[in-house]
Amino acid sequence: MEQLLKILNETCPGIDFAHETALIDDGILESLDIVTIVGEIMDEFGVELSVDDLLPENFNSVQAMMALIDSRRD
């Protein structure tokens, strides 16, 4: 989780990723942010994500993003 938070804070500074639970629903992150975040996640965590993973519910919170990463590690 710490590694993901570091990526997010560097990619999209100024957002309280640790506590926000509606990053997409509240318009805090935009679809173009997701593309950037996915690139960083794939590189840092060594997981493969597909365009079909780019669902709003997978990026609404740091927990949701972590769950997506974990599901691709299995």
């Binding site: 318009g27 994500l49 597909s50």
Partner: protein, 261 residues
């Protein structure tokens, strides 16, 4: 260029673009892509480090791209009139460099837009005209208003099918003229947690009667006072004044609209 026949053909191409250092102006959803493919309008061109997706329209094409930095130049194998829009915040250096890349490919700046936002929960006073949710019977008048008030190339005018869908879904608000026909419209793009005001226009003979104010107030009420977003051309001073008077403010996003004849 090759026409894309199905979403299953497109999805791996998009997946292949995911990775560090990729910049894109493609904020379309899978449903958006499917609609373009079903209409036979989506064409692609790939090169090392780049993917261009052209959405063909009558008389021009709209360009979406994925570019991997450092950008490797690739000639676009399409010589028809083409328009592209790059939306970015000041921190999005990659997208700003992408605009320079396309300028180097012969694209010229047409105009710029700025995004304004109205916080959720904000109501505005209505104008004197009664605004209503438009329906299928308004398709003709609404379509005419759109064509008369927005540029066919850069105005994102919906197709007849898209407009029919949006009227059915309650995504158009209108005010009527004395003849009972829609004389002004506000076109909504719904979203998760926010809505976007896509088009707002009042027919020339019905302006300065508070129609736009009535449309805006009804739209906000209709969408449950959700956060509202609108892109305004930077050279549209009356439009900008109208929105800021009603509480909208810049949220940091700006775009450049580029065109290659």
């Amino acid at each position: 260029m090759k026409r894309i026949e199905c979403y299953e053909e497109l999805a791996p191409l998009l997946t292949a673009q995911l990775g560090r250092g990729v910049v894109t102006n493609a904020a379309l959803t899978p449903e958006d892509w499917r609609r373009e493919i079903a209409a036979g309008a989506l064409w692609r061109q790939s090169w090392e480090g780049g993917l261009a997706l052209l959405r063909r329209r009558a008389g021009h094409a709209v360009l979406n791209f994925y570019l991997r930095e450092p950008v490797v130049p690739g000639d676009l194998a399409w010589d028809g009139p083409t328009v592209l829009e790059i939306a970015a915040r000041p921190r999005d250096g990659g997208l700003l460099r992408a605009a320079d890349f396309w300028r180097g490919q012969g694209f010229q700046d047409l105009f710029r837009r700025e995004r304004l936002a109205l916080p959720k929960g904000t109501a505005v006073p209505s104008g004197p005209l009664a605004a209503r949710i438009a329906g299928a019977a308004d398709a003709g008048a609404v379509g005419t208003l759109l064509r008369e008030n927005f540029d066919p190339m850069t105005g994102c005018i919906p197709t007849e099918e898209e407009l029919a869908h949006d009227l059915e879904a309650g995504h158009v608000v209108c005010v009527d003229g004395p003849d009972g026909e829609a004389a002004g419209l506000l076109h909504i793009a719904p979203g998760r947690g926010s809505t976007q005001l896509r088009h707002l226009a009042v027919g020339e003979t019905h302006r300065r009667q508070g129609g736009a104010q009535s449309l805006l107030a009804r739209y906000l009420e209709h969408t449950g006072f959700a956060k509202s977003l609108v892109w305004v051309r930077t050279d549209n001073e009356p439009g900008r004044r109208f929105y800021t008077k009603n509480g909208y403010a810049p949220d940091g996003w700006a775009s450049a609209v580029l065109y290659r004849p």
